[in-house]
Symmetry: C2
Subunit: 678 residues, 2 copies
């Protein structure tokens, strides 16, 4: 029931009268919904949270684990934790010897127990790490060789247990309310360590052990845990530990590069979403390249991490906080500023009533991890995040987030619209470009009796079936137009919660049609070719469309145009067919009969006559061409002096090729009329 007492009870005088403000008189149908608001929804939070401090764990003994290599330092350097701790100390938030005035309460370190470690790892992994405790130098070197990206000394086992146990203890202080949130500055890191296999600088999986331990110790309070892994590498170990667990949501942002980046498998792909009951509870955000920056991470947080985080509604949030996506990291090669780490932390503080535990993972620039770690610490303390370095996401980030959103739309309402893909086991699936071309063909047949022009050449894509049309008797016309263009624009409008289109709200906008109509009104011969976006061979394999359109244009010339009665020929090109037309001009002697080559280039790259061709060709082309280029085309910046071989360039105000064709229709037609009168 509702905690809010009726107005009359709270205040006997305040009976609210209907007001002028209330223009809408209807009581909403959903008013019963109010009953579902429980006491807990409106009760005030306990004020003592105000005086709770943040927790911090640091134990210099974790530096004992070090490489035996005396020549070169290893990136997972013992000084990493010291540097982060020193930065926080220098900022005045902790003292070397803890005092009551410190902003952070110090959480004592401890070693993880066997029981805790076995919550995640096999006994074999435990025994393997333990075995290093008493090994000789030679044995340690051998152990290093049999493992992936690990080094050992006799303190490794102790340090690994100390890191895991300290993580458990620090998180425990958050869950039991001793501190409001906490930061464990620990090493060796953990997130690459799989249940049955350590690796990637990681011995025991600190974060996984911590999550499992909290769920075991507080079964009522901690039912759902979100682990957010912003280390620049994929946390394969953590993902594996919870892959079928519906109660642990693992979200990772990492460089992926089609599985080429460490750990070098496809396990961190966006398609890996968990299995069994855990399906949908793994969310990978795999960057396709290095160089990601503030705007990209914030974009992913806003579009994916936080919506899914809110929908999952965790009781505890753990950050697997590698700082190797920070600007300056030698391995990560990304550009996150400390502000980005602060903002990500700040956003996550909105979940789980602020119960947030930050556990350090990778990060290999000693200075970068210090500033990034300090920013996280400040945010935990309640200091507002600084402004970001950039607020815009880059194209690769937008594309990645879009892919993740599509995939996760199967599992999360907040990720909708649901993205359906055509069923693979069903025959009646037609690519939309075929459907659109069939419509065009039907219309051109109905209006102008245009028919299909056969194209039968080995090596030319099957995709061209139905894509070339010709007007009735084109072969005998004195004037012939070859028009090669992209398919029309199709503007989609979906039904809201999926990518099933609303057909009445979606439209095909065919800018080529006005030109076709004009040619046929003049009784010219017309060959109209539509170049599909994706060309495929008979087996459905993709083709290079540029090479293909070159072959196609030559084929049309050799088999039809050259043999026709046409005395005056005009080429019109738009979109991906333009290189094919230019190649034809370069390769055949077209100059006696072709009167003009008109191309709509828009923002695409300019396409020039091949320099090895007859030297008269570029001059001829320049005189007989009209190249419509958008104002925003980079060529205006790049090229100071425009070479003749690119043709006569006309700068227009429109970026979109369709608009360009539409807006310049009158002047192009006048130009063609003039050319043909000569």
């Amino acid at each position: 029931m509702l905690n809010v007492p009726p107005e009359s009870e709270a205040d006997p005088v305040a009976t609210v009268k209907p007001s002028q403000l209330m223009l809408s008189k209807e009581v909403p149908a959903e008013v019963g919904h109010l009953d579902s608001i429980q006491d807990k929804d409106v009760e005030e939070q306990k004020p003592d949270v105000l005086n709770m401090k943040s927790g911090l764990c640091y134990d210099p003994r974790m530096r004992f684990h070090a490489t035996l290599d005396e020549v070169e330092d290893h990136p997972e350097d013992p000084r990493r934790i010291l540097q982060v701790f020193e930065a926080i100390k220098e900022a005045g938030y902790v003292s070397a010897i803890p005092t009551a005035r410190d902003a952070f309460i110090r959480i004592p370190s401890r070693e993880a127990t066997l029981e805790e470690i076995l919550r995640v790892h096999s006994k074999d992994v435990y025994d393997m790490v333990k075995s290093s405790e008493t090994m000789s130098r030679e044995e340690l070197v051998n152990l290093e060789k049999t493992n992936d990206s690990l080094y050992f000394n006799n303190q490794t086992f102790f340090c690994a247990r100390l890191a895991s146990g300290s993580a458990v203890e620090t998180c425990n202080a958050v869950v039991n309310g001793k501190v409001k949130n906490a930061f464990a500055i620990i090493r060796p890191p953990g997130h690459h360590s799989e249940p049955n296999k350590s690796g990637g600088f990681c011995l025991f999986n600190n974060v996984a052990i911590t999550a499992r331990s909290m769920m075991a110790r507080y079964p009522e309070q901690v039912k759902r845990v979100l682990i957010l892994d912003w280390d620049v590498h994929h946390g394969n170990g953590t993902q594996m530990a919870f892959y079928d667990d519906p109660n642990v949501l693992y979200i990772s942002l990492h460089r992926y590069e089609n599985g080429r980046f460490y750990p070098g498998t496809t396990y961190g792909s966006a398609e890996n979403c968990g299995e069994g009951e855990g399906l949908g509870k793994t969310v990978n955000i795999p960057w396709p390249c290095a160089g990601m920056s503030d705007g990209d991470y914030i974009y992913a947080f806003q579009k994916v991490v936080m919506p899914i985080g809110y929908e999952f509604n965790p009781d505890l949030v753990i950050i697997s906080a590698g700082f190797d996506a920070a600007a300056g990291d030698p391995l990560g090669q990304c550009y996150l500023t400390p502000a980005a780490y602060a903002h990500m932390t700040q956003m996550l503080l909105g979940l789980a009533e602020g119960k947030l535990f930050v556990s350090m993972e990778g990060g290999y620039s000693l200075s970068s991890i210090s500033t990034a770690g300090l920013a996280v610490a400040q945010t935990l303390l309640g200091i507002p995040p600084a402004k970001l370095h950039t607020v815009y996401a880059t194209a690769p980030a937008v594309k990645t987030v879009e892919e993740v959103t599509r995939i996760q739309s199967r599992y999360w309402k907040c990720m909708r619209p649901i993205f359906h893909t055509p069923p693979t086991d069903y025959t009646h699936v037609n690519p939309l470009h075929e459907v659109v071309r069939a419509f065009q063909a039907k219309k051109l047949f109905d209006n102008w009796q245009m028919t299909i022009l056969p194209i039968s050449r080995d090596g030319l894509s099957e995709s061209y079936a139905n894509q070339a049309l010709c007007s009735n008797g084109f072969f005998h016309r004195k004037t012939l137009v070859l028009f090669v263009h992209d398919p029309p624009d199709v503007l989609g409008s979906s039904q809201g919660n999926s990518n099933l289109l609303n057909l009445s709200q979606s439209a095909v906008v065919d800018y080529a049609e006005t030109y076709i109509d004009w040619c046929l009104q003049q009784d010219f011969g017309l060959i109209d070719i539509n170049v599909p976006e994706l060309l495929t061979d008979a087996d459905g394999r993709p083709y290079s469309s540029t090479e293909e359109t070159k072959l196609l244009c030559l084929y049309i010339w050799d088999n039809y145009i050259e043999l026709s009665s046409a005395e005056k020929i005009i080429f019109i090109g738009e979109g991906r067919a333009v290189p094919g037309l230019i190649h034809l001009v370069s390769s055949r002697n077209v100059s006696t009969r072709v009167k003009s080559v008109i191309t709509f280039v828009g923002t695409d790259a300019l396409c020039g006559i091949k320099t090895i061709s007859n030297e008269d060709v570029p001059s001829w082309y320049y005189k007989h061409s009209l190249v419509l280029v958008s104002n925003g085309n980079v060529c205006w910046k790049k090229m100071k002096r425009k070479k003749k071989r690119y043709g006569r360039l006309v700068r227009t105000e429109h970026d979109h090729k369709g608009e360009l064709m539409q807006q310049h229709y009158e002047s192009i037609v006048q130009y063609m009329e003039k050319i043909l009168r000569q």
Copy 2:
């Protein structure tokens, strides 16, 4: 330049060796980007922010402004500010007499100056309010009558100036760093007060005056201000004050209801985005109904408010904090819990380096505003938000946010894909359903010589031209199938940053086609009708498709089927045509020749034989029907005993009608074969 010193300088030993971790050897092309990271991006924040308190302004004298009506209280009740202040006091964050131990620093109130008020309002507005200071009771009542939703007494002018001045003073304390953020518990509210017209309980626009004053006083520090208005009413006054200002972003979430909700105009529609240089700097999120709750507001924040907020990158955030969307508010009729107010505040604290000023507006339940106001106060103090009441957005919210996103995609990168609409001044625009139907017709002609069945009846929509096809010689077949269905699924895939579809990645999936092929393989007669989503008459006006399909089915029966030689007839229906088929069964004597009526209903509402029809019809229909219903159809919950008039229901596991048709193809065909053998 980068503040991070080279590793060698920071620490002479730490030369990082290439590691096994670094599988990808290429240095990214964008590496130069690093140069753009400035000192300020990596420098640590000043630690004294940690010890900064939050500010709070409250002056009981603002209660002097009150209605003269002695019979009824007015919703904008003087006790509103007292209640909010008391709630915060009772929670222990302020004392009646300020002390150094208070969590909030008290900001002294003051009256706004003429200069400050004239930054937003005309002198006429100022003089009108001032005039009330010395009026008689009768004059005050008259003044009330000449204004929209305002009341006056002799203290009104003083209180209005006190509210505006206190807002300015409180916000000033945030900007000049005296406090980290602040809350002004003030009345009368301000956001309905337009530059030239007060109204809606609002005299002077406190928030607008504050924003303008801060920008005037701190031209370097405060260049861009975000005003977030979560009052349940649209802040027409604030929107108008900054409509052409590129530096003040006004975002409002409000009940709109097509302009019927107060203030009762369309000025708060999603289409109103600012003008001139301010275009794109007004973002309205207009709810279509009452009853919005936590999940809806958080959804709007995640999808629109925060992405645009981050992209705008303000120097100061002001919340126009009405609490009339809170559960229990008599005017707002929405269901926000205090937690939702806390979360919205928490998110906004991520902007502008935490420089957030909360200014009270409406809110008319004395208890609801207390709990909501307390939640905001706690969040300002750094107390983490409680869990939300609901984390799911409702359908009206999703639809509204989608509309806003489409509109704002013109102005904000984060709102992309850009949503193009077909050009209105261009003739070659074809609705996709016509394109798809032309393709189907072509395919059915090519494969089966099916042709168009003429439909010429006054009152039947023009949309049916080309939508009815018939097999060659259907009129003379002994077995005839009438198949009425929706258009095929079109799965759209866009090009990433706009709704221009990628045609190769988009597909038409035609689940009806297998049934059509089967019928024609059996050499049955077939009438195939496609029912478009949106029927239009000759002038393009929309029609009711349910009524239309009823007319259509009767027309087909009367003009074709009844006159045909068919002895055995099967009706198959799918989607929006089903009511038409059932109407036909109810209205004509079909029982002697029709052997079965098969309908694919999926999750749609069941459709029954009209009860007024011949009483034999429901029994006949029950015996001769097969109705395929999804497992998730609400009928399974609602109806205990299924009535015969709904036909023989078959519960299937598929929700999507297409899948249902595909998966049950074999068994439906076997059923039809059996029926026809009898």
